[in-house]
Symmetry: C2
DNA sequence: CCTTTTCATTAACAAATGATAAAACAATCA
DNA sequence: TGATTGTTTTATCATTTGTTAATGAAAAGG
């Protein structure tokens, strides 16, 4: 059904055509417009997502009622809320489309059944999990610097395309600063 | 051989006695004194660790030559450098004992062989990976606040025992502030 | 026991960042 | 087009944080 998903999967793990056909049966297309929240609390344990086009974020609401950006997801990436499903402590993490977004979703329980039946698909699933973990470690290393300026420089290295595509408020939140401070740093770095 | 390891494993996944006996054959005891670095670059792809007693940190060296604390590992936890093994970008992450530390190590390749043979051990391995990921997500949520004071308060909730056991320099680095700033916040919060 | 080292605190000042408000700019829509 | 809304920049001031240096306390080692 969807060659883009096949490519995304192949970039992660060289799955066989037969295995992909099994996965393919679970795929459905979803699309959301800018600003739309697409994983609510009661739905989040149901699906894995492949980001076909557009950009999404995960976020939470802080005590002041503001959205704090936790992660950013560009196109051709897997948005896999596995960690959220299995954790009781992470209760209020939500997902939102920052641009018009096309997703391919996959029922999580059916995918788990596939993983039980097929060693190859389980290896794919484990590799997704590992990649998620690597992304987190790389992120925490990138944000480990004390100064916001260095964090912005690091962000530009890993997300160089995103800065002109999504609201700076989300980037600032991701970097742990205000959008006003981000604006100052942008000006300073452009000189 | 080691009932403590059995307990640690059981807290994560209810493995059978038979499976544990297979794992048990791979276990070896290691101990390090305070300040000792125990995973160097060339060794890190060899072992998984169970922290029996003491506290460790993962860290990297920033351009100024200072150690930046990335993660903290208390006793009764698994120190599983799976993500490091599989990532090319995370090259300079090291591990150090912050107190006298007793570890039980397990050869990673032999454990992978066990995972191929046994579904149950495979499930245990996947769960370890999931737990690592959950810990990272919980950490990034805990550190998502803009102010250092709130991050310290959050840190105290999740690591309440650690503050009096390890150098404040490492806690400050973990929180993204200087130890002097941490001292100021401690004083302010104690009033 | 003394010395040395490491760590935590404090003070004074400089630098960076947040808060608030205003203005410029861009995007959307009737 | 004009109005509206949202985003980014800029300016001002208050607050927080980093830097440097000094001090004291605790731990480590001879």
């Amino acid at each position: 059904m969807n060659n883009i998903v096949k490519n995304i999967i192949h970039q992660i793990f060289p799955i066989s055509d037969q295995s992909f056909l099994e996965i393919d049966k679970l795929l459905e297309i979803e699309s959301y417009s800018k600003g739309e929240t697409f994983i609510s609390k009661n739905k989040r344990d149901e699906k894995e997502y492949f980001v076909i086009s557009g950009i999404c974020k995960s976020y939470l609401i802080n005590p002041d009622g503001d959205e704090v950006t936790i992660s950013l997801f560009a196109e051709n990436s897997i948005l896999s809320p596995q960690s959220i499903r299995t954790s009781n402590n992470i209760s209020n993490l939500n997902f939102k489309a920052l641009t018009k977004v096309e997703l391919v979703s996959m029922n999580a329980k059916e995918f788990e059944n596939l993983m039980i039946e097929s060693i190859e698909i389980r290896q794919f699933g484990s590799t997704v999990l590992q990649n998620e973990l690597i992304a987190k470690v790389e992120k925490e290393i990138g944000l480990a610097s004390l100064t916001a300026k260095e964090r912005l420089i690091e962000f530009r290295k890993t997300h160089h395309l995103l800065e002109n595509l999504i609201p700076h408020t989300d980037i600032a939140s991701y970097l742990g600063i205000t959008n006003i401070s981000l604006s100052r740093l942008r000006k300073e770095l452009s000189r």
